[in-house]
Symmetry: C4
Subunit: 293 residues, 4 copies
């Protein structure tokens, strides 16, 4: 979804040069910056793990809060927990803004917006306390679950996956485009054949059925009842079953190419041969050290 180049991946994402370039910051901002944005120091690692636990904790709290039987009994507790996490994330947000050189740039970035949205609902809910706006508040309270997006920044490791996905983007788009044409055609056909009396009340609903069928989900809330409808449904299913091969094939082939590229990036400085495995220490052709420093 997001990332970049080497091992310090996610850190670099949040600190593009624009945030830190120019004259040095004051010592304490430097320190806070290191703790919050870098993961190299011990304090930085502690902060990362602590924040991750806080995110997951707050997400679990929102989930349990939504369960009728739990939410009613422990209402008071959830109220305290909500504000604990809200204040925690607010402090974190303010610190982040303060220690970067260009706060506005950070505030506009994807994770800056996620940080803001993860604290906003609680504050806004303060102003809608009338009994008539219960639903709005519930909606706002649920929105806090989007804090889970904050976990996104822990997604390292995904280098080759994302590169292969980006490389096959155009082909996947063609695939989805074809799928889109087919579900519209088959949905309309089923609307004509089955009709409203069998649950196919409109074309959009029939297209929804075609998607449910082609993707092999098959809820069963809408199912063909006429003979002709069942024949067409069979065709859609077998088609869905066969064309699932297409994105898989695209992605497999792309990833295999990606892997090959990974292997052949290092050249031996002694004999110049390439094609060394990622874990190789010595050149397999001449026995020289691959990374001599």
């Amino acid at each position: 979804m997001t990332q970049t180049t080497t091992q310090t991946t996610k850190r670099k994402l949040k600190t593009p040069k624009t945030y830190m370039q120019g004259e040095p910051l004051s010592p304490w901002r430097e320190l806070v910056y290191e703790v919050i944005f870098e993961a190299d120091t011990f304090a930085g690692k502690c902060f990362d793990v602590g924040l991750m636990i806080a995110i997951i904790g707050s997400v679990i709290a929102v989930m349990l809060d939504s369960v009728e039987t739990i939410g009613r009994v422990y209402r008071q507790w959830f109220f305290y927990i909500e504000w604990f996490f809200t204040i925690l994330f607010t402090v974190e947000y303010i610190l982040r803004l303060m220690c970067v050189r260009k706060p506005w740039l950070y505030a506009k970035s994807f994770f800056g917006l996620v940080d803001l949205l993860s604290i906003l609902p609680s504050y806004v809910a303060l102003f809608f306390t009338g009994a008539q706006s219960m639903m709005v508040i519930r909606g706002l309270r649920v929105l806090r679950i989007f804090r889970i997006f904050k976990l996104g920044e822990y997604l390292g490791e995904a280098h080759s996956l994302i590169r292969a996905m980006r490389a096959s983007r155009a082909k996947i788009a063609v695939f989805l485009y074809t799928v889109f044409i087919f579900v519209v055609i088959f949905g309309s056909a089923m609307y004509l054949i089955e009709g409203a009396e069998n649950g196919f009340t409109s074309i959009p609903k029939s297209v929804y059925w075609a998607i449910v069928t082609l993707t092999t989900v098959g809820y069963g809330d809408m199912a063909p009842h006429t003979d002709l409808g069942q024949m067409i449904a069979s065709a859609v299913m077998i088609m869905g079953y066969a064309i699932i091969a297409v994105p898989t094939g695209i992605y497999s082939a792309e990833l295999a190419r990606e892997y090959n590229r990974e292997v052949t990036n290092t050249a031996c400085r002694n004999c110049g041969e390439e094609g060394h495995d990622p874990d190789a220490v010595y050149c397999k052709y001449c026995g020289a050290l691959l990374h001599p420093e």
Copy 2:
């Protein structure tokens, strides 16, 4: 999402040599031809984008028209919209026919037929206005959704996808043939075991169930109730789960081969054939030197 620039793919599709060969056309037909069939000029690109928007717009109109609650209220509006698009596509169809050298050849081509079918239903509906033929008209009105096929011509990018599909055609056919034999066998077996009292009222219906199960769609409108039936269903499911590997494997392997081949676009200067391996020195079809200098 769609459009590609590379080789002029789709244009070639619509203008095989037969349409344009021979003596030059009159200047204005030449101009119309360029705007409608080519995408190189600015006017041509505008036309393409405009037509695409019109197609999608008309498809959305037909879809919304079919929704009971919307269709009843805005009946008049949908009537106007329908005729606006019908006239637009009629003009486009006539222009296409006029500016190609062999109109009949174009009219018989796939996209020629699609163009005709996308305007025909509206005109035919004019002659069936009696109250008794409401269903026919509804059917005709819905048929207009097949205009979405007109989008097909924007499918560039699909070169290697389609080539790999064509290359694996025979193997996919064998696969579908085997699947067909299995669903008939298992469907008949379930008809005998479960019988009409559990919903397996006939062999065709049981075969339909077998397809629903093998493709892992699983509506649940028919499900085995006897112990033996559930054992056989389990076998069908695991089989379906395992053999989905077959088309995927075929297509992946074919696409990987296609990717490897992609590297060389070299055409032999002797016979003009393409598809030579990167390390090829001589043309594999005629034996001539590939790079004679």
Copy 3:
């Protein structure tokens, strides 16, 4: 499922050397043999196509016969059709037995048994005409659908598919074995958690549910209702979703290896280099003819 080596695949299957070895047959048996077992002559091809149509026709007849509304009205017609096909296949079976050198060997082969079983039900049904044995007869009548197995012999083209399948057999077995252990474990766990009141009435039924879920079929006739049950079900689903990669990966890798082997089978007689594409006429390294005769 079955086959062998080169282009005359399926023919060779039915005529292993044991059938034809030794002294020559009488001329008319030789002729019948050629028509029935070989596909090289015009008569042989006609016979093949005719037989294929007859098989499909008889299968469709059995299927339609089972549909209540059709079967009752056209009972007489289906009776005639059944006996027409029965006599046709009987004649074919007798001819096959007569023109091979070792009838007993043929009768015991897979397709020999299929041929016999496709005519037997009709004859056996003659002796069970009492009203009390209607169900047995229905069963016998339905068994005729297994004639579809006779189509199996038209499965050529499947060379590399079957070879790749055979090569990955051991790995697929390990995979199914693991799946088997998991569905038993998860099924039993759900039996304990959900219990009979939620439809999980016994361990075999719960194992059936686990198979339905792991293979992503999901009928919905049994679904978890307790919170813990839904958590375990989620684990099963995600596991099923992730491990479908295993057979696909196995088969893709095996097929890719198969494809590579296909490519490198021909060596140039001039320079000795291998790795020519299947459609190559000239050696791509030295330009010599690959198959000089």
Copy 4:
């Protein structure tokens, strides 16, 4: 189906050096050890096959016992069978403990625990015979089915499968992590949109629905009813249909790499490391010549 001969895989699993190292055992313990832990001798093979039959037999017994109609009628028989297998596995467990050099190490190993857990439930059930604890006993009786884990040790052949799985572990984790974020997001969105009146009573339940949909299982016990809900559901389905390509692609590419590597089992004579490419001349880990003659 199972057993392999090649490298003594599973044997090595159960007899790491710690079990057998040091001074020789007494002759009869040596003999028992060979029969139980090794599969090379005739007696050892007989023991393996016998144990496998016993495991499968006991698992089938537990499964049938749970079927109401069978379990009630043959209660006495199942009681005898249960104790027969319990005593058999107890003897086996004691013998295993006696003939290894470090019983405690074996008892703590995975298969040591499985062996213990497969006999424990029966013994514990002896002490809970009061009528009020029927459910506990049923639970204990069902737990015996976990004996199926004892089959795990027959899983040889799985070398390259497991190695490829381990190599792609990090990537699969990233994939599952992303899936987890998405199902929480989409589940919460559906909770807001559909609400309790359409069955989406809480966020955890809605997340359960998102998992059911994304994995294309689709029970149909919860399905969207509002238009917006069906649109989001369509997005989830198509996403699920497209991203199933990711684990498959990862695993295929990894397995293909594994296959290529399989060719060479050469170990370096200097450092003992394996996994060298077929064309390697020097060890890639220590730089020593691989074939020094």
